[in-house]
Structures are given as structure tokens and as C-alpha cells.
Symmetry: C2
Subunit: 444 residues, 2 copies
């Protein structure tokens, strides 16, 4: 028994040890692959990392070189701090943070000095109390101002630095003798830090938020086009729905467009701070990109509805009786889908090359013509049939909403189990017999 | 002439001056109203502002009281800095930032000391060079790690503080004699700052991110329900589409749901840091809320499609010929819409009260029954008509996509004018005659 256990242990150890090494080697390998992929997806990320290192190395020279060090004293540290905090991925981000930091420091420093002189009038005992009152009031007011959407969007960081600097200057005014010198040192080190960041950010492989926004908007249009052209080819095309669409990549790629608002907003916000560069002038119309983004998302929403309807349709098998009618509709749908896709591709490349062409409008006109052709298949004087068709569409859309509610119920039901919601007594008994929610299956 | 001009000026000044005062009074009034509205919409904002003031006042006492001050020296300032930077609106936000800051400071401080001892081996001249190499390498690697999505989401701030502290300790190790003392002071002041923030944040009117997420998810369900019930009453209801829906508030309120992902993600991210409180245990299933959010948005998307279709339909006037058929469809649609709305309301209140009820499933079952009833209006053996109906729906959805592309073209065209895109020579001439893009109007 003992020997057996011993053997087991030995075997366990021998087989375990290489396994552990192998396992951690495997994990390291995966991590390395992941990191390589992040760098490969956008090589500017590697450059940005090196740029941060460069900016920090530049600023630390200030510290090592004696004459520079003695001028500014220990507050050179503020310059290092500024570089780490202000350096952002895009030029606009760095500019936004840097200018916010510099101006907030200047303003708050001046106000802090004023508060110190005012508080000094109150005598030795009154000074700290008065200073505290000032700090409390200014901090509370400034914090509240961050809830104003316009300030939140553009000056959130500036307000933080404002509170910070005011508190630092006001509070330390009670102990530090040479307050003016402290304020001057802080301001100049912050200025040095911001200048270093801006130079590194703008002149060493700059990443412009405006250009990223430009490319993102074009890429989103391309994703929608990709779906429509894929549909036009694979679903409405000559294969006639014979193959299942499952697993096709074009069915998924447009979904990221639906959630692109936050990225677009933040890029546009940074782009507003950027000076003119390359093909972009200083007053480049950032807001127009946001408008394009909004209508693109609306388009993505109607594509989502189409996709949902088609994927439900694919699950039910339809028998074709009137082949001619079906072929006509199918051909028109293929044309609508392909041409709209072409129009969107055209728009994307028009944005990318900053060259307007009216081809997009022409493609869309062809698509519209195809849509009218389908409508003409139903004789205009047969108003009963037309009414039936409209009712059918409305009902289908509403049915889609009902169907969409099903997963919502399932998800909330799962939450109710995970978070241990209360359940009514009689419901628990009933729950044992019937499924927790009604599974709905509407046959098309 | 002169006197006339003089009179004019006088009149100008007299009428201008009160106008200026009036104008700025008006603006001040508007600002005050805006600020009051922000505070009224969520009174916790006012409390949060006061809490920031309170935390700062508490920490400044450290500075004023002599015994405390002498223990930590001038680095008490780090405590003030920590409070300003770490204090967030929600408890989860403060915890996330505070813990990130504390652990990053600890780790980077230790590494910085190690780097100092290693660099000291290289002699007086080699030391700054070696320190710079360390700072460059660590800053570059840490910055790159911020591009890893998992680190970006949860430890972005920690990485910043890591770079910051390491640079500060490593760089200043060249000049500062008592490095250990500096590192200890920095760590303890950061800890004091974080502790102050956490106490104020958790014990004085706490705002829990988990609870906000909980309420947001429920509110979003309510918004969808509001649309469906509004539609069921006003459009499908007894009034029979007689009135225009324009300007109804329920047509707009659900639109914010479409863009709620960013807010939900950030709240869930903060909520993960929060300890148990009230009805929420420590391991409250945050991810499940994100899942509910995702399916809710999908539901909102299909509602958007329905809304778009109906609003186009309202613009074209349909004559009713088969009143009986229409009434049947309308009644079924009203039931589908109302019952789905009720199901969503039920789910929202079930989340809010943390009490599961199976009523939502029952409402949805009624809605599904109504959907089947409409389908039954078309005889199942009439497969030609069924095919026509399916084709009609697919075409309608595709037409909606084509229609949605129209504003995209218009928006890109506007961008091309604002950003002065190149235009082909012959296009410019043609442009003078024809409108810049083809306006598409598909009659329903």
C-alpha cells in the first residue's frame, strides 16, 4: 500500500512536472502570439510605445544635467509626471490633455496665490480654516461642473488639474515660504513636460485622430457594402438560396458598426484640437463625420433587420410554386443589394481618396429602379392585394420584435437565477412542472 | 451732420448698454437653469461634488496638523494629489482607481529600488545611462501592454501609475540620498489618500455602479415597452392611423437604447470592483447585465426597423377597400404590440424589484398567438400568396436599406463640399445642371 502510494507519487511528480512546464510554456506562447497580433494589427502601437519611452528619456536628461537641475529644484519630478500622464496615442489626445493641463495649472495657480493672500488676512489661526473653506468650495463647484456635458467632453482633465493645482498651492501656502517660487517651478516644469510630449507626439511618426476618424468612417461604409454585396451574390444570386448562409463572414462584419458611436465621438473630440496636417486643414469638419456615422448606423440597423428576417426565413423551408414570379423578385433584389453595396463602396473610396464622384448616386438610382420594378409586379389597381402586402410587412416586422423579446426574457430569467431574485411561492411549484419561460416559435 | 451722428451715438450707447446687460443677464439665467436642471435630474451629483470637497478638506488637515506633517514631510502633497485623481462618482470607480494606484505604486516602487541598486553597480558615469535604459524599456513595454483589451479595460490607470512611479523612483534615485525613505513616504501618502477616498466614497451617500447598471438595464427595457405600448395604442389602436404620429415622444425615447453599450460596459467594469451592498452580493453577475443589454439593443434595432417602415407608410396615403381584413390585422397587431410592451414592462419591474415573475412569458405567449392568428388569415394551401407575402417583406426591408443609403450619400456629399474634396472636371459642369445626388423617393 505504502509502496504503491509512493510509486503513484513518483509517477505523479514525474508526469506532473513536465506537464506544468509544458502548460506554462504553452500559455507563454499564446501570450506572445497575442502580443504579436496586437502589434501586427497596427504597427503604430509599437511606435507609440517607443515614443513614450523616448519622451521619458528626454525629460530625465533634465534631471541628470546639473545646471538644469539646480534651476528647477526637486520639482523637475513634475515634468516626468506630466510626460507620463499627458502622452496619448493620438496627437489630438496629447494636445487636448497638454493644453488642458497647462491652462488649468496657470489659472489654478493664480487663484491659489490669491486665496493665500486673502486667507493670510485672517491671522494665524484663521488662515487654515479659511483656506479649507476655499478648497472645499472650489473643489465642490469644479467637480459639479464636470457633469455639464460640454465640459465633460472637452475639459474633464482640465478641471481635475484645476482642482489639483488649486488645492496644492492653497494648502501648501500654509507651510511653504516661497510660494511664488513654488508656483513658478510647477508651471514651468509642467510647460516643459507638455512641450516634450507635443514634440514627440507631433514630429515622431505622428498618429492623427482626424485621420483615424476619416478612415474609420470609410471602413464602416465598406463593412455595410460588404454585407450587401455578399447578400446580393450568395443569397439573391443565381444559387437561389440553395446553400445555407451560416458561417459566412459578411454576416458578422457589419455588426461592429452598430456600436461605433463611442469610438467616433472620442476621435472627433481629439481631432478638434489638431492643427492642419497633410490633407487635413485646421478647420476640418469633424462634425460632418459624426453625421455620416449616425446615418451609417441607421443603415446598419435596417441591414440588421433584413439579416434577422432572412436568417429566420432560411430556417423554414419554402416550396417554390410560381418560379417565374420568384425569379423576377430575386433578380430585382440581387440588383438592389449589389447596387446599394456598390454605392457604399464608392462612397467609402470617395472619402478615402478625398475625391468626390457622383457614381454612388447613379448606383443607388439603379437600385431604386429595381425596387420600383418589384412594386410594378403587383398591379396598381389591385388595391386589395397591395393592402395585404403592406399588412404582411408590418406584421413581419412586428413579429420580429416579438421574436427579439424572447431572448430578453431568457436573459432576465437567467439573471433572476444567478442573482437569486425572489420567486413567488406558487410560481416555484409551477416552475417545477413547466419550463421557466415560454419558448416561442413562429413558423414562417 | 455732426450733431446727428452724436445723437445716433448717444442713442446707440443708451440702447446698447441695457441690451448688453440684458443679454448677459439672460445668458447667466440660462446657465443657472441648465445647472439647476443637471442637479435636479440626479441630486446625487450635488452630493458627489460636496463629497469631493469633504475628502479634500479631510486630507488637508494632515497638512495643517504639525505632528502629522513632520512625519511625512513635503510629500503630504501626494495625498492631496491622490484624492483629487482617485475620487470617482461611483464606489466601483473609486475602488478601481484606488486599488490600481496603490498596487501599481507598490510594485513600481520596489522595481525602481531594484533598478537603482543594479545601476549603481555601473559606477558614477554609467549610472544615469543604465537608469535611462531601464526607464525607456519599462515605459515602452508597459505602454504597449495598454493595447491589450483586458488590461485596457481594467488596469489602464494602474499601468499609467506604474510607469509614473517607476520613472520617479528610478530617475530621482540619482540625486536623492534617502531613496527608501522617499519610496516609503510616497507609498504611505498614496495609501492615506486612497483610504480617505474610499471612506468618503463608500460611507457618505455611496453611489454604486452595480445599482446604476441594474437601473439602467431596467430603464432601457421600459423605453422599448413605452414605444410598443404607444404604437399599440396610437397607431394600431382604434383610431386606425387617422392621426399623424409626428412629434409623439414614444417615437424617440427608445433611440438612446441603441447607443447604450459604452455606458453599460463602463458601469459593469466598475461594478466588478464593488463589495456586497444592500441587495447586491459581492459576486453579483455583472456579465449577465451586459448580455441583457445586448439582446435589448437587438430588440431596439428591430423596433427601429418597424418604426422606419411605419413612418414611411404614414407619408403615403392608403385607401382601405377590404375593411374587415384590415380590422382583423390591425387588431392582431395592436395585441402583439401591447402584449410585447407589457412583457417588457414586466421584465423591467422584475429586475427593479429583484423578484421573478412568469407573467412576462405569458404576455409574450399572447403576442405570439396574435402573430399566428394573422398568419392564419392567409390560407396555408395558397402557397403562391404566401410566396408573394414573403417576397413583399424581403423587398420592403431591402427597400428600407436602399432608402437609408440616401442620407449617407447626402452626408458624404456635404463632407466633400466642407472638406473641399477634389471633383472631376466634367463632374463639375454636370453638377451645375443636375443636383449633386439623386434624390430617391420610393412610393409605397
Amino acid at each position: 500500500m505504502v509502496s504503491a502510494a509512493g510509486t503513484n507519487e513518483k509517477v505523479g511528480f514525474n508526469s506532473w512536472c513536465p506537464f506544468l512546464i509544458f502548460d506554462s510554456m504553452q500559455k507563454l506562447k499564446e501570450l506572445a502570439q497575442k502580443i504579436r497580433k496586437i502589434g501586427k494589427d497596427d504597427p503604430r502601437r509599437v511606435l507609440h510605445s517607443l515614443k513614450v519611452g523616448l519622451a521619458l528619456t528626454l525629460i530625465s536628461i533634465f534631471y541628470y544635467v546639473k545646471p538644469l537641475f539646480h534651476g528647477l529644484g526637486a520639482s523637475t519630478m513634475w515634468a516626468v509626471l506630466t510626460v507620463v500622464v499627458v502622452m496619448e496615442y493620438t496627437v489630438g489626445g496629447t494636445l487636448s490633455k497638454g493644453l488642458n493641463r497647462a491652462f488649468a495649472t496657470l489659472l489654478a495657480g493664480a487663484l491659489g496665490l490669491g486665496a493665500h493672500h486673502l486667507a493670510a488676512l485672517a491671522g494665524d489661526k484663521g488662515e487654515p480654516i479659511l483656506l479649507d473653506v476655499f478648497v472645499f468650495m472650489l473643489a465642490a463647484m469644479a467637480t459639479f461642473s464636470r457633469f455639464v456635458p460640454e465640459i465633460k467632453a472637452r475639459h474633464d482633465y482640465g478641471v481635475t488639474i484645476f482642482i489639483l493645482t488649486f488645492s496644492l498651492v492653497a494648502v501648501s501656502s500654509y507651510r511653504v515660504e516661497e510660494l511664488i517660487k513654488l508656483a513658478y517651478q510647477r508651471l514651468s516644469t509642467v510647460a516643459i513636460g507638455v512641450a516634450t510630449c507635443l514634440c514627440t507626439s507631433m514630429f515622431v511618426f505622428p498618429v492623427w485622430a482626424g485621420e483615424d476618424l476619416h478612415m474609420l468612417v470609410a471602413a464602416n461604409l465598406d463593412k455595410l457594402a460588404c454585407f450587401l454585396q455578399g447578400m446580393g451574390m450568395e443569397y439573391f444570386g443565381e444559387k437561389m438560396e440553395s446553400e445555407s448562409l451560416e458561417g459566412k463572414s459578411f454576416l458578422q462584419s457589419y455588426k461592429t458598426v452598430l456600436n461605433s458611436k463611442a469610438t467616433e465621438d472620442s476621435l472627433a473630440n481629439f481631432a478638434r484640437w489638431e492643427p492642419g496636417h497633410g490633407r487635413f486643414s485646421f478647420r476640418h469638419p469633424c462634425n460632418q463625420y459624426l453625421k455620416i456615422g449616425a446615418v451609417t448606423r441607421q443603415c446598419a440597423c435596417s441591414i440588421e433587420a433584413l439579416n434577422a428576417y432572412i436568417s429566420t426565413l432560411q430556417q423554414s423551408h419554402q416550396t417554390t410554386t410560381d418560379l417565374e414570379f420568384k425569379q423576377k423578385v430575386q433578380a430585382a433584389c440581387a440588383e438592389m443589394s449589389m447596387e446599394t453595396g456598390k454605392a457604399l463602396t464608392e462612397l467609402a473610396s470617395s472619402i478615402r481618396e478625398m475625391k468626390w464622384s457622383s457614381t454612388a448616386g447613379k448606383h443607388l438610382a439603379v437600385a431604386t429602379e429595381a425596387a420600383c420594378r418589384v412594386k410594378a409586379l403587383v398591379p396598381a389597381d389591385n388595391s386589395t392585394l397591395q393592402e395585404v402586402l403592406i399588412s404582411a410587412t408590418t406584421t413581419s416586422l412586428l413579429t420580429e420584435v416579438v421574436r427579439c423579446t424572447n431572448p430578453v426574457i431568457a436573459a432576465v430569467e437567467e439573471l433572476s437565477r444567478l442573482a437569486e431574485f425572489k420567486r413567488p411561492e406558487h410560481g416555484r411549484k409551477a416552475g417545477a412542472e413547466s419550463p421557466p419561460h415560454v419558448v416561442i416559435d413562429i413558423k414562417k
